[in-house]
Symmetry: C2
Subunit: 210 residues, 2 copies
């Protein structure tokens, strides 16, 4: 029986960030399914596990960890892989993870949820989100023009955090070809031993009923 | 001359988070002004200081630190105040800071920027942001029903991160009276020795010209 259990569903890039880390470190784990599209994360039972009402949640040796950034930090310490080598790097990784949560994953993931999964069509909200996402993409693309990875010129959990949603191909109305350094970085991550595409690691959540 | 220099402007709650930390720890600092409303953070000169194009930025002993969460973490270590006491607390603080960046400050600050500063009026975008902000406020309010502060039952940098924008009174269309535990928590923070209101520490940025 795997020590690590992860509440996860396939459509979630935040779950995929953690699944990538587990795959790239060769860590055995067991998936606990999440019936996201039927409201499981908004229900009382799930909120008793994570008051923030979000997946992923990692269970390990009595610990219950939520927020993908916390889980990545924890797994880096547990496995000794992809973490910081000193305090300056630790702060740089934290800086990119906070930017990811505030401006990179956040706008892009919400845009992709509306346009690519809910098929909302275009609206002032999708236009707003796309504008914000493109600004964040520009900043990351420029940074990656000068270095192969976000921090320390090697793969770290900062890359796994920001790259999570970039591997999905649902429609967003943003053409990644406009960000060649992001595409090259994504290819470098995908070439790492053990890497797998999102839905090859975590199956789709059940569709919404009726 | 103060060791700490902070690029900051009054309207920014992210700058205020750091200014509160400096005030509550009795740390001397010098402000470096930011002409935000005339585009300084979007210009090349500022991007050379912070590629993410954001304030606050802290300068200290040759270090250039951005992202309020990174700066709070750094100041907690430097001053020995309001930081974690063990690894479990460190992860809990990180968890709330990531939630803050993703869902609490992010939506609320953007809503307040549009409605309260730009006077955008109501739109599908402000409605979207307000819905998201209210969901995040509900989660924090519920958490604070059971404990005086977010982590460890004492003031930490997690509180300073999430509370930043709560002290401003520009219009957002959200009535904080709907979140009594957040109001009580805000009052507990305001009662801490050294606390000052936002514009009493950091002056307004110059108005947009033309």
């Amino acid at each position: 029986m795997a020590d690590y259990k992860l509440y996860a569903f396939g459509e979630s890039g935040n779950c995929y960030k953690v699944a990538m880390m587990l795959a790239l470190t060769g860590t055995e784990w067991e998936r606990l399914p999440v019936d996201y599209f039927n409201g499981e994360t908004r229900g009382e039972a799930f909120r008793a596990i994570n008051e923030m009402g979000e997946a992923p949640v990692l269970l390990h040796k009595g610990k219950v960890l939520s927020q993908s950034g916390v889980i990545l930090d924890y797994l880096a310490a547990q496995t000794g892989r992809f973490g910081p080598e000193n305090e300056d790097e630790r702060r740089e990784i934290l800086r990119w993870m906070l930017f990811d949560n505030h401006k990179f994953t956040s706008y892009y993931a919400t845009l992709r949820f509306l346009v690519g999964l809910q098929k909302s069509g275009e609206s002032p909200v999708t236009e707003f989100l796309r504008g914000r996402a493109k600004a964040a993409f520009g900043i990351v693309d420029k940074h990656l023009a000068a270095s192969a990875f976000l921090v320390g010129n090697r793969l770290t959990i900062a890359d796994l955090s920001l790259a999570g949603y970039i591997f999905f191909d649902e429609e967003t109305g943003i053409d990644l070809a406009d960000y060649p350094n992001i595409l090259a970085w994504r290819a470098r991550i995908a070439a790492m031993p053990g890497w797998k595409a999102p839905y090859n690691m975590v199956p789709h959540a059940p569709k919404a009923r009726g």
